[in-house]
Symmetry: C2
Subunit: 80 residues, 2 copies
Amino acid sequence: MLIKFFIKPRKGVLDPQGRAVAESLKSLGFDNVKDVKVGKYIEVYVDSTDKEKAIEEAKEMAKKAIVNDLIEDYEIQVVE
Amino acid sequence: MLIKFFIKPRKGVLDPQGRAVAESLKSLGFDNVKDVKVGKYIEVYVDSTDKEKAIEEAKEMAKKAIVNDLIEDYEIQVVE
């Protein structure tokens, strides 16, 4: 089973990478860019057949090792 | 409109961050972890009402500024 983590800076947290990408896109002519957030995309492949259990495990992983809850927001998606 | 980019290292490309996260998860007791890939998750908010056009624009952005095609794979999702 594959667990996908989509992590991004919390609202209000400084995101210098996001600003840099936004400026870069604008300078390349993408004038309609309003805002950019740069975060992390993590794939974790696990040996598991129980999707519900995998979701619970994913939340534990996020809390213990993958997400910094103070400054990051995240979403999980589990793919069979 | 919101363009989401999911970027990860290409198969075969060294991913030391992925290895580090995998080791860390295993040492925390997540014994069923088989593999981990660490990539980037980028959100680009654009002023646009045409979804098809936004998808084309997203591909251009990926090519010109966001993805390093030699070492990275990516997927795009456009949300209205």
